[in-house]
């Protein structure tokens, strides 16, 4: 049974990314997955890693006020991140969710005497990203694809060794005709139904 956590990050409900989120959830449900949905802006998530987060970062566990986010991350076996790419990376709101939820005791641990982190999200077997880019694929390649590598390398390292990643992206979104956007949204729903 696929247990999918959809983490959605966009400030506006009338955005293309919001529609993509709806199609993601529709696809997942059509494919038979159980779905939980986190809307970071709607929840008023505080993305700033705080001085107390920092002081406690060698103590296992996230800030107690973030327990629901931790429970959802530990529950899922598929994580779907839906966001616009800004400055070739995740928006600050989503980066803050990573900084504050993927902490010691949740995403990794550092056992006594060890010199490298041990991954803790071993039941998370697939990470899917659905994102839009203002710039072209070529410009993104020149810029080094930071957002993509953060997911496919940094985050994946804290999961199971066989965890897969899928990148579903629309490039040059500001100048695309409406039918290309519609085709992208159809592709999102189809892909997620198949992955569910």
């Amino acid at each position: 049974m696929t247990r999918a956590l959809v983490v959605y990050c966009h400030p506006l409900e009338d955005s293309l990314v919001a529609v993509a989120r709806d199609r993601v959830i529709a696809g997942l449900r059509a494919g038979g997955a159980e779905v939980r949905h986190t809307d970071l802006y709607a929840l008023g998530f505080d993305p700033g890693f705080t001085a107390s987060d920092h002081a406690n970062h060698l103590v296992a566990g996230a800030d107690p006020s973030l327990a629901d986010h931790v429970a959802d991350l530990q529950w899922c076996n598929m994580l779907v991140l839906v966001y616009p790419t800004w400055w070739s990376g995740q928006p600050a709101m989503l980066k803050g969710w990573i900084d504050r939820i993927w902490v010691n005791g949740v995403a990794w641990e550092l056992p006594e005497g060890a010199n490298r982190l041990r991954p803790l999200l071993r039941s998370l077997r697939r990470i899917v990203v659905v994102t839009t880019h203002g710039s072209s694929k070529l410009v993104n390649a020149v810029e080094g694809e930071s957002g993509k590598r953060t997911v496919t390398r940094s985050l994946r390292t804290m999961c199971h060794p066989l965890t897969r990643t899928n990148w579903i992206a629309l490039y040059g979104v500001d100048t695309l005709p409406a039918e290309r956007r519609a085709a992208f949204l159809d592709r999102v729903e189809r892909r997620l139904a198949r992955l569910a």
């Binding site: 920092h54 400055w87 600050a92 080094g144 930071s146």
Partner: protein, 196 residues
Amino acid sequence: MLAAVVLAHPSPDAYCAALADRAATGLRAAGHDVELLDLYASNFVVAMSPSERAAYHGDEPMLDPQVRRHADIVRSADALVFVYPTWWSGLPAMLKGWLDRVMVPSVAFRFDDAGKVRPGLGQVRHIIGISTYGSPRPYVRLVNDNGRRILTRALRLSCGVRARPRWLALYSIDTSTVSDRVEFAARVERELAALR
């Protein structure tokens, strides 16, 4: 020369705060003017708000007076210096939010008539990153050093063709010795004092 030093660390007594001080000391010793932007200390709002996103493509994309003040400094800066801890191979959400909210159209770039992005920071000659890493250097390279790429590639495309990126990094900070850290701080001051 005017240098904007952007610091993103939640604790005022952190090593990164000391590095920012040393950077400023070096720059002043070389006769440069320094504007220190301590994002946590000045309670900078991390995430772009819905109203800012709605205004992004309009005539006035900046709604927050603090953002406007930072944009004025950036527009007249010859050097942009970033001091931060690397988390999840990237920028802390606080610094990513600073890029998302301050580096907006009319500041970092503009759209030409064809909707293409044109650089807006032609006067910036130096982009300098000063960062601490928990991981050793080979691992950082393996995961793509995403924060560095955002600043030295994505942001650099918005600066002048003469802009030189320079990177000062302390790797494996958790296992570094006091003398490693003292030496690195001295190197930061020395290299910034040599900036022309």
